[in-house]
Amino acid sequence: MDKFRMMFQFLQSNQESFMNGICGIMALASAQLYSAFEFNCPCLPEYNYAYGMGILVVPPVWFFLLGFVLNNNVSVLAEEWRRPTGRRRKDPAVLRYMFCSMAQRSLIAPVLWISVTLMDGKSFLCAFSVHLDPGRFGNRSSPAVPRADLERLLAKVPCHDVFDGHAVVSREAATRYLRCISQACGWMFLLLTTFVAFLVRAIRPCFTQAVFLKTKYWSHYVDIERKMFEETCTEHAKSFARVCIQRYFESTGGEMTTFHSQWTHDKGGDKVDGDKCSNEKDKLLGIRVQEDMNKVLWNWHRCKPPLDIREEDLCHTKGSGCTRRGELHRKEWVSYYSKV
């Protein structure tokens, strides 16, 4: 449990490494899914190709889309793309960078699935067994077989428990041949993707390195700013709610507690007084009787206070024995600040 927590903390500390972690997990999931999936070639001429190619192509598309779904940055990108320009210009290079980095991460699991599928060879065998040349794998001594029957026979090559044409076609040789082609395709595909990735990563610094530093910084900034904004909103909501609820309790209780000093206590965060007794009293917020508490709870549902904590609008709460506070003198003050 501890190990997981530490790993989780390490990954979360850096957003990029967190996304890399997710990407790695998806890649492992794709390999595991393939090994757990029970490939079941239909062994019928009309369906073999569709099934074989479907298994090769559809799950990668699904993994690619899943990669986008799991990536937090999708909503950041969409937000940055759609926002009105306002007072901050939009930089298309930043949008492109964000999209490219998301796409790169999402491509790893599909590439892995395709490679594993091709290396294993079953889907290739299923899709292309019908196109085999019987002259190459057939037994010389076998009689000529009509085309339709031959197709049906070849379609059964992937299914060793159903195949009944041993006299016509050598099943093992045909299987080996197709698997060999499939594995060659798999290695070529891996080589190509690795080479392209290598070009992108290793050769990119030759072009536009300065611009790259800038776009990397600002795309990271957009992400962080969004997080900061949410945190600030949450903290603000907390303070807002705290004040609102305190005022509500007091207005319902009808007691004139020393609200203002208590509020600055909480805001400033310094509990100077070691007097536990008065601290507890403050926490009660003036509600000390069962009926008052019931009234608080009843009204909280029936008649919530307005979302307005400006000090002069204290008495808007309905149904409360509202005691008007002394008018707070709003001060207008000017401060000059110079750093010489």
């Binding site: 093992e172 041949y177 070529m188 390195q209 530093l213 962080i224 900061m228 207008e332 401060s335 010489v340």
Partner: protein, 330 residues
């Protein structure tokens, strides 16, 4: 748990040891990949050699590219090689050192794959079974109606019907495997000898320069990491400030604000605020950040931290609400 943390910290502290760790990991992955790969010799004369040599040499190329991509030093080296000279002179020895270090690490996993392939022997048997002279072995099946080449091509395939109950296939396989393993061990011995010679003889050649180049290449790596970290921290503080000011900008206008005033209308500055100010280093606008990043690439600063950085002079300008200047230091 503590031990794991200690080990992780040790590895993270030294960038070279991280690269070594990744390189060893890649080598282990290559072994695992080989064992999980289902070698499937086609047993057809035209395809055997192509397939086997393909399996022996294509994955090493892939592993080499992967090794280069994963290595941090690749980026450092490329950046150092391609940057404009600016205020800092370029040392080609450092670039060469980084290149050779990167190359050595990237070549480990491909060599491991080739060696494992040779020691296992399947690829060799598949590729070269047709080159064996069958006269040295007894028991060649001669009633199958196939020509010699096709029979020899089927030697790697155990389950083929041609070789049932025949010791011929096993004998030929063993012979070719023996060759394969001999070549594998020889290559391994050669590599180890070369490595040992290089390690032992290196201090004989220009050791002092070597120490310098090693120091400065390590420095470049650390400098880039620190720059990235500083950018990240700066972005965080920039964002926090931006959001706070945005919130404050939405306030009702209960204070007569002069443009210099905002700092004082808030709660008294806490330690966190001071820290934030320090981390921003005075860079508080988008244009300043862009200029900073551009200059970092175009004109890297000198390697000289003995001078105190010149502090920007702060000039006070008081404007009233309509923007008219009341007083100015400028």
């Amino acid at each position: 748990m503590d031990r794991l943390k200690l080990v992780l910290q040790y590895f993270q502290s030294n960038s070279e040891s991280i690269s070594n760790g990744i390189c060893v990991l890649l080598a282990l992955i290559s072994v695992k990949l080989y064992t999980s790969f289902d070698f499937n010799c086609p047993c057809i004369p035209q395809y055997n050699k192509v397939y086997a040599l393909g399996v022996m040499f294509v994955p090493p190329v892939i592993l080499f590219f992967l090794g280069v991509m994963i290595n941090r030093h690749t980026g450092v080296m490329m950046e150092e090689w391609l940057r404009p000279v600016g205020k800092r002179s370029k040392n080609p020895a450092v670039v060469k050192y980084l290149f050779s270090a990167m190359l050595q690490r990237a070549l480990l996993a491909p060599m491991v794959w080739v060696l494992v392939t040779l020691l296992d022997g399947k690829c060799f048997v598949c590729a070269f079974s047709m080159s064996v002279d069958p006269r040295h072995f007894t028991g060649l099946p001669n009633n199958t109606g196939l020509d010699l080449v096709r029979i020899m091509a089927k030697v790697p395939c155990k389950e083929d019907a041609v070789f049932q109950n025949s010791t011929f296939r096993k004998a030929v396989s063993r012979y070719v495997r023996c060759y394969s393993q001999a070549i594998g061990w020889s290559i391994l011995l050669l590599l180890i000898l070369l490595g040992a010679l290089a390690r032992v003889l290196k201090p004989c050649f220009d050791h002092a320069t070597f120490l310098q180049t090693r120091y400065w290449s390590n420095y470049l790596d650390i400098e880039q990491k620190l720059f990235d970290e500083t950018c990240v921290l700066h972005a965080r503080d920039f964002a926090r400030k931006c959001v706070e000011q945005f919130f404050e900008g939405m306030q009702e206008d209960v204070h007569l604000r002069l443009p210099l005033a905002p700092a004082r209308t808030r709660a008294p500055r806490t330690e966190a605020d001071e820290e934030t100010e320090d981390r921003l280093h005075g860079i508080t606008r988008q244009e300043q950040v862009n200029r900073l990043l551009h200059t970092w690439y175009e004109c890297r600063p000198e390697l000289d931290v003995s001078r105190v950085a010149p502090q920007p002079r702060v000039c006070v300008t008081w404007e009233d609400r309509d923007g008219r200047v009341l007083f100015s230091d400028v």
